[in-house]
């Protein structure tokens, strides 16, 4: 392994950190120079992630000890197959949303783009650090960096964003505090916080109450961070009120790294038998995940605001991920990780599409989007691709993660979970079909005419209805506000990342075989039933 390769972990994590310190200076010197620096840092981090993934695939895990201090004293990073996959995902999403953010930040946060870029880079440091670290305490540090920056990013939104951010802050802080408590308990009995060391020390301590209490605190803390039912209440408002780019990046990263931490600690730091048999938390997680899956979808159906609907859908999708953890067999865990990756891309893509629509039309109510596909065909197409993937249509990524989850349920003979996964897919269909129908279908039946249809439909309606005559009904005409004259397709800097993510959704489906065999199978924990 070359020197450059072994330094990759620190390049991924530290580049955004260093750039975030430089950025205020650059912005003070010349505001328009801030964006290239911002984008350069994200691109470098993403490039390093891809290089790290290649190195891991070729030669196995990458370890890096900051300053040459070996564990247990130094700061250690370790990128194994799973972490490499996640890092590629996170820094890739960071880059895509970063490209998108230029225009939307100029519009939504005028004069404040430099602070935005700075905090955004810090968030990327936090989420990539959480994945790359090999130490439970450093994980806490990065968790707090990611959390604090996401509170800040959410709070700069409009309207009720501050209230939403405050709720997020209170609950998020509780979650982080629980995690810190868990770390304290584990340290008190194990005497180490390095994950590899812990994995060696802990099996002898599985009967210890301190370990069990610590683990329980850990699970609840992570559940709050990933907005698992019933502690999901902070998420919808935070996602709905945040600026578009923030919704996308927060949805694509923060809940995902919390889920990653859950998987990492439950199956890699502890042995699977601990959470499955000795201290059966996974059974509980399975139930919580299943309920989240159904309830999140039901609540999503009830929403009229596009971003809020996407947010509730996130609650449901987190349910899928946790359900996969809860079923605790190799197939289901594969599905869980795959769904984590897929959902990050799909939901990032959907939030960006919603952001592009907001940018061009100022509309966020679903009923206002009627026939918008006519004005913004590419955005609508990208939205459809991501929505089809969410529903679980082949050959998009979402299909395969659900397929593994279903296979996992069959393997574990968990017929109730199987039924609930299917049910939740149908519910996902219900809310996405509703949006797609508004995007694509002009006009609507008179009985279902919403408030948006009324004023726009004028004398022309009656005239055409009269002309139609007989039994063939004509509709109220006129497109909704969003599709009015003069609304154009999203500008290229917004459209390019959207198209890239839509392509990624498709590729994640077509290439799911290599992903599973390359990144997941080598690291699937021993002791899981297969």
């Amino acid at each position: 392994m070359t020197l450059q390769q072994s330094a990759l972990p620190i390049v991924i994590v530290a580049t955004p950190l260093v750039a975030s310190f430089l950025l205020p200076l650059v912005g003070w010197w010349r505001r328009e120079a801030a964006y290239p620096v911002f984008l350069g840092a994200l691109a470098l981090s993403a490039g390093a992630s891809v290089a790290a993934a290649q190195a891991v695939l070729a030669e196995g895990p990458l370890a890096y000890h900051l300053g040459g201090w070996a564990p247990p004293w130094g700061i250690a990073f370790l990128i194994d197959h799973l972490a490499a996959l996640l890092l590629t995902l996170l820094s890739g999403m960071g880059l895509a949303v970063g490209v998108f953010s230029k225009r939307s930040v100029l519009r939504e946060l005028p004069e404040r783009e430099v602070p935005f870029y700075t905090v955004y880079l810090l968030l990327m440091t936090g989420v990539t650090g959480m994945v790359a670290t090999a130490d439970m305490f450093n994980l806490y540090v990065f968790l707090e960096i990611a959390s604090l920056t996401s509170y800040a990013l959410v709070s700069i939104g409009s309207g009720r964003a501050v209230v939403a951010a405050f709720r997020y802050l209170v609950l998020g802080t509780v979650g982080a505090a629980f995690y810190l408590l868990a770390v304290g308990y584990l340290y008190s009995v194990a005497g180490t916080l390095n994950m590899a060391d812990l994995a060696e020390v802990l099996p002898a301590l599985y009967e210890s109450n301190a370990v069990r209490v610590g683990f329980a605190f850990f699970v609840v803390g992570m559940a709050i961070k990933m907005a698992l039912f019933p502690v999901h209440a902070w998420l919808p408002a935070a996602y709905a009120h945040a600026p578009s780019a923030v919704s996308a990046i927060v949805a694509a990263t923060t809940t995902k790294v919390a889920a990653y931490a859950l998987i990492r600690v439950t199956f890699f730091v502890f042995e699977p038998r601990f959470a499955v048999e000795l201290f059966p938390v996974t059974a509980l997680l399975g139930v919580a995940g299943a309920v989240a899956m159904v309830l999140g979808s039901v609540l999503a159906i009830a929403q009229t605001d596009l971003k809020r609907m996407l947010a509730y859908s996130s609650v449901a999708q987190v349910g899928y991920i946790v359900l996969g953890v809860g079923m605790a067999n190799a197939t289901a865990l594969t599905g869980s990780v795959l769904h984590l990756v897929n959902h990050s891309v799909m939901k990032g893509c959907l939030f960006l599409a919603a952001g592009a629509i907001l940018y061009r039309t100022g509309c966020r109510e679903i009923v206002q989007l009627r026939h918008l596909a006519r004005r913004m065909p590419w955005t609508a197409a990208v939205f459809s691709v991501a929505a089809f993937s969410m529903i679980g249509l082949p050959p998009f990524g979402g299909f395969f993660s659900k397929m593994y989850l279903i296979l996992g349920a069959i393997e574990g003979e968990q017929w109730v979970f199987l039924a609930l996964i299917l049910l939740s897919s149908v519910l996902a269909l219900a809310y996405f079909a509703n949006v797609l129908r508004y995007l694509y279908v002009p006009g609507e039946a008179p009985s279902a005419a919403g408030p948006a249809g009324g004023p726009a439909a004028g004398p022309a309606t009656t005239a055409s209805a009269a002309a139609a005559g007989g039994d063939e009904s004509a509709d109220d005409r006129g497109d909704a506000p969003a599709a009015r004259e003069g609304v154009a397709e999203a500008p290229l800097p917004m459209l390019a990342p959207l198209l890239a993510l839509a392509a990624a959704v498709l590729l994640l489906g077509l290439l799911n075989g290599p992903i599973v065999s390359g990144f997941l199978e080598p690291v699937l924990p021993q002791g899981l039933s297969r």
Binding site: V441, G443, L510
Partner: protein
């Protein structure tokens, strides 16, 4: 010949893409583009036929996606006749739609400028070719997940066509059909995944390894419920009448295929490889089919709406095929499939003629119609042909199909005992109801005095693009009626083992 089967999927798709590209100023060309693509597809299918009738069974495979998913295509004696008839219908109906949709767009979107109307018009024709793609994919697939995929393609295409071009309350009804379609397909997928978990393969060819498995019974039930939802067999028929009544009439024949095609899947996925485990469901299925036949026929008799009439008739007609397949004898299954093919041809002619009446008069209520035969003779003749095709009059193929079908059902009845014989007798008498509602409607619409409100209107036969395709379909049905061996020999080559 390499890639012929793939072409049956790609050529319509290319038509859709071209139509999409033409949607701006050249939107009005989309209809002809789609028709051209479908004629080409028909030619491709004919060339496949050369190989199949020569005793071959072309097989192609593409796109290997782990776990176990690939796009495998097979044209054997079972899939080829189905593909040939369905493709013919798709081509005929695309041509029929050229003028029909013109009228539909001007009614729905007449207030818009011409450029926008052309765009709507093109939209219909770049969605329509997704049906032949979905049908061909469903028919030819040898992999359960790709089969599922094509079932979903059909459902999604139907949703957008329905929501954009349907009649009363069309968006709500589009949602109903979408929900039923997707739930049915998802049950199918769940069953497929159970199969995968048990035998480690998603290939239809490997399904027989599932026979006798501890989960075989529940799996067959799951497959069956999913497919019966598509077939709209009582008590899973709720979606059918409204969906079939309110969609744009030009896709009526395709909708009949959409519902009925699930029966082909039943034969392909359940009857052939899992016959032993499926046998337990045979008699209940026949009972349900009988209930559906009678219920559907009575419902049809009660209709006064000309489109609803045609729609409700599909419920009972589909049930005939289900009855035959439920009998699980070679004659019953072959008859059931042959009747399926005959029915979709008959329904295309019948339903599309109903569409012509609505197109010309803009009236759907049969009580306001009458005496049209004098003004629209060609349409009247087509309607009568449609009646004969549906009721099973010689020389049309449904006669031969019913003959074979009931032979199979009685065979089973004689083997099983009086209960099944009763079902068989009930089925034969239900045929009379078909005669009643088809010819009864013919009398109402085309004969008797012309109502006053129609007398001063200009009513003529529709343009040739609407009548000629229907004539071709009727001729095809007559040929198959006079020479049924063309289909039955092929079916028998695969199904003889039952």
């Amino acid at each position: 010949m390499e890639g012929l089967l793939l072409q049956t999927l790609l050529v319509p798709l290319a038509g859709a893409v071209l139509g999409f590209l033409a949607r701006g100023r050249r939107g009005r060309l989309a209809g002809w583009i789609a028709t051209g693509a479908m004629l080409w597809t028909t030619a491709v299918v004919a060339r496949v036929g050369v190989a199949v009738y020569g005793g071959g069974a072309p097989r192609e495979s593409y796109l290997d996606i782990p776990p176990g998913i690939r796009l495998g295509l097979l044209a054997d004696g079972l899939s080829y006749p189905t593909l040939a008839v369905v493709t013919l219908l798709c081509a005929a109906l695309t041509c029929y739609s050229i003028r029909y949709v013109e009228r539909r767009v001007s009614v729905l979107y007449g207030a818009e400028p011409e450029a926008v109307q052309a765009r709507h018009y093109a939209r219909f024709f770049y969605l329509l070719p997704l049906f032949p793609v979905g049908f061909a994919g469903t028919i030819l697939s040898t992999n359960l997940v790709s089969l599922y995929f094509f079932l979903e393609v059909l459902t999604v295409a139907l949703f957008f066509l329905m929501a954009g071009f349907g009649y009363r309350d069309r968006v709500r009804i589009a949602f109903i059909s979408l929900a039923w379609g997707i739930v049915g397909a998802l049950l199918f997928l769940a069953a497929a995944l159970v199969v995968y978990a048990e035998i480690g393969s998603l290939e239809v060819d490997d399904l027989s390894r599932m026979a006798g498995n501890r989960l075989a019974g529940p799996t067959v039930a799951l497959f069956l419920v999913g497919l019966l939802m598509k077939l709209a067999v009582v008590p899973l028929h709720v979606w059918m009448p409204s969906v079939h009544a309110e969609h744009p009439t030009c896709i009526a024949g395709l909708l009949a295929v959409y519902a009925n095609l699930a029966l082909y899947v039943v034969v392909r996925v359940l009857v052939l490889p899992l016959g032993g485990d499926f046998a337990a469901f045979g008699t209940p299925l026949m009972a349900l089919a009988l209930v559906t036949m009678v219920y559907g026929s009575l419902l049809t008799l009660a209709q006064t709406d000309i489109k609803r009439l045609a729609a409700c008739s599909t419920i009972s007609q589909v049930a005939y095929s289900v009855l035959g397949v439920g009998a699980l004898t070679a004659a019953g299954v072959e008859g059931g499939l042959f009747f399926f093919l005959s029915h979709i041809m008959g329904k295309t002619v019948f339903f599309s003629t109903a569409g012509i009446v609505v197109y010309a008069t803009r009236i759907r209520d049969m009580r306001e119609l009458g005496g049209l035969a004098r003004r629209m003779p060609v349409t009247a003749v087509l309607w009568l042909i449609g009646c004969m095709m549906l009721s099973g009059f010689p020389p049309f193929s449904s006669f031969a199909a019913e003959w074979l079908l009931f032979t199979g059902v009685f065979e089973r009845g004689l083997a099983e005992g009086p209960g099944v014989v009763a079902i068989a007798i009930g089925g034969t008498t239900a045929v009379l109801l078909t005669v009643a509602y088809t010819f009864g409607a013919a009398r109402r619409i085309f004969f008797g005095p012309l109502p006053a409100h129609l007398a001063d209107r200009e009513l003529t036969d529709p343009p040739w693009t609407m009548t000629v395709p229907l004539g071709v379909v009727a001729a095809a049905s007559a040929v198959l009626g006079l020479y049924p061996a063309a289909v039955l020999d092929l079916l028998h080559s695969v199904l003889a083992a039952i």
